[in-house]
Amino acid sequence: MAKKVVEVSSLVKQYGDLRAVDGISFELYEGEVFAFLGPNGAGKTTTVEILECIRPLTSGSAKVFGYDVTKREDAKEIKKRIGVLPQDFSALDKLSVKENIDLIGGMYEKKLDTMEVIKLLDVEDKANERFENLSGGLKQRVGVAAALVNDPQLVFLDEPTTGLDPKARREVWSVMENLKKLGKTVFLTSHYMEEAQVLADRIAIINKGKIAVIGSSQDLISEYGGLKVLVVRKGGKEMAKTLQDRFGGTTLNHNGDVFVKADDVNEMWRVLSTLTEMNLTKEIEIQTPTIEDVFLKVVGGRITEEGELT
């Protein structure tokens, strides 16, 4: 069993009347990528900032590396050992990439060589560029570089790709995959389903301050994702009718595509052999459920591109 890096138990954060974090418990294990997946206002940033020791908690307990986030002396130890990319990261506009990373690095007793970190993030050619002149994606990469400068064991990335275009998002993803290779424990928050599914070893779906489900994406999908679906493109009315007789959950859309739901592998084979009997010549496709289906099932809604729950 891997070592526990973060241990949160019955954590509550109250802002006046609003209970932003409502009694959540979870752990992070050494070397894993753990994701908080949830819409805006779910309580992601609040939780992360409590763990970073910059926000007091209302009740419950939170430990990082065994240190208690509420104790002053412990907080010092935690701060030395964590790296953070805050939500909406920004740096001093008129300083260069290198100067900004030097600035953050200078705050620690022990730090990596700035150029080494810059190379790691593949921003060498921008090392002397002023921060204000960088694109959004590059700014985020600088933010990740700054988060690594103290060679932390645990890295928090709060919505690292929000607002980036798809290309820049993928660049940041590849950076995060490198973090995993470096053996860092990563706490990622996101409202992008795909991001959590691609990057995280374990996902906690969080909504209204509560964790709905927690587990690896495979486990969550097989438990909550629902059925696999076989699609026959342009199968037509006739075929839909035949399949409907044998397999209850068959539907037809306005393009003439036929959808057949399959409980398990055996069912899927039966559908396929039926289609073989019918001398099928059309294109077929098998759709596997995703985290989005899990989310829909456990939260009862979807998250828009902007992060709002619908």
């Binding site: 926000r55 030395k80 805050p86 506009d93 705050m107």
Partner: protein, 419 residues
């Protein structure tokens, strides 16, 4: 301490590379000094004949009206002749005196109430000059600025414009009668106006000669520029803190830069001290540049000594402290910059930085005495110009106490943790 120095270095570099920072903290004060020096410095080369009738008499002529005539005289531009108070037709009186070959008639009538109006009016003039200087510099700078810098400056200028517009117009208590054919009427008019704005400083110079008679070094003659120079320095040390620190800190806060730093082992006091040191360096640079410009352009005699440097440090603490208090209380960047401007510009003119408190009307003296800048500028002036030990000590004590109070409140309201 290591972390403090790193913050100091980063914040200073960030500022030195910002055009709007340089504009407000260095360019504007330097240009203002040049314009003030030129306008209020008086002086001219040719001599014009000028008749003066002084009706601002209270038994004897009022001190300011008399001082004004003396100031006109000291420009060495005019050959002044007096018209008695009972003369009503000034023009024909002058014609008679000049005789058939006399040349152009120039008569200045000083009406009753001049002294009072003068005291109320100079504020408007000074604010007006600063406002138009700021606008001129901005127009020149504008093409080199980006959108945010432009907005920051526009806001400063608007604030100043509003302040300017809010001041009552000065009443005309001087009447200048000139011949339409007089080629030099424009020059004469502008010299009289400049002197009208500046004469009380000439008065101050005279007052200082009297003061120095008790001191061993009586020969020293102070001029207007010597009064202005430490005034401009202290006024802009004040704006650097109240406007600069407030705006920068609020901006750092809004953009999450302070939060990013608070996640590292950096402590709150280290952060504050780093910023105060950065302000101190900036203000020492400002002082050096102003003094050099003063030397070159006006042969000013300011001599900075160790007291001046200590003063600049304490002043930097005081005004950054006020800036920290404001940015601790105000979240919104625009509001912070507006409030900073709204405090700093009036303070600049209502304090004793640009004109001696003794010459202000009573109600304004009361205001001036409540403003920290009054003590700071008085102290810096004592250190740099008068070399007047008592003035240094008293003002330094007051400024130090205020600095301690504001930097402590500033540290308390600076949030290093979220709520």
């Amino acid at each position: 301490m290591r972390r403090t120095l790193i913050i100091f270095k980063a914040v200073t570099k960030n500022w030195l590379r910002s055009r709007s920072g340089l504009f407000f903290s260095i360019m504007f004060p330097v240009l203002l000094l040049l314009v003030f020096g030129a306008v209020f410095g008086g002086g001219g080369t040719s001599t014009y004949s000028l008749f003066i009738q002084n009706l601002d008499v209270d038994g004897t002529p009022t001190p300011l009206s008399e001082g004004f005539i003396e100031a006109l005289n000291s420009t060495e531009t005019f050959a002044i002749r007096t018209i008695p108070g009972d003369v009503t037709d000034l023009r024909s009186y002058a014609r008679d005196v000049l005789g058939p070959l006399g040349g152009n008639i120039r008569v200045l009538a000083i009406s009753e109430g001049f002294q009072n109006d003068m005291l109320n009016g100079t504020l408007k003039v000074r604010v007006g000059i600063s406002y138009s200087t700021l606008q001129t510099v901005y127009e020149y700078f504008e093409p080199f600025l980006n959108e945010t810098e432009r907005m920051a400056m526009q806001q400063g200028i608007d604030q100043m414009g509003q302040y300017n517009a809010s001041l009552p117009d000065r009443k005309a208590s001087l009447t200048l009668i000139l011949d339409a054919s007089d080629q030099s009427s424009g020059i004469v008019r502008s010299i009289v106006m400049s002197v009208a704005n500046a004469f009380n400083y000439e008065l101050m110079g005279a007052r200082n000669i009297v003061n120095f008679e008790e001191e061993p070094f009586t020969e020293r003659q102070l001029r207007t520029i010597d009064f202005y120079l430490p005034g401009v320095i202290s006024a802009f040390i004040m704006t650097n803190g109240i406007i600069g620190v407030t705006t920068n800190t609020t901006e750092f806060k809004r953009r999450g830069i302070i939060k990013r730093l608070s996640i590292t082992p950096l402590g709150k006091l280290e952060w504050i001290l780093g910023n105060v040191l950065s302000q101190t360096l900036l203000n020492l640079m400002l002082t050096a540049i102003i003094i050099v410009v003063g030397w070159l352009a006006f042969n000013a005699q300011a001599i900075p000594d160790i007291f001046s440097i200590v003063f600049i440090f304490i002043g930097s603490v005081l005004f950054s402290g006020i800036g920290m208090v404001l940015s601790g209380l105000i979240k919104d960047v625009e509001a912070a910059s507006a409030i900073g401007n709204a405090i700093a510009f009036p303070m600049m003119f209502l304090s004793g930085a640009y004109w001696p408190v003794e010459f202000m009307p009573d109600y304004m003296q009361t205001i001036a005495k409540a403003l920290p800048l009054t003590y700071f500028s008085e102290g810096l002036r004592s250190a740099m110009i008068y070399k007047y030990t008592e003035g240094i000590i008293i003002n330094m004590a007051i400024v130090s106490v205020l600095a301690a109070v504001f930097i402590i409140i500033g540290s308390l309201v600076t949030r290093w943790k979220e709520k």
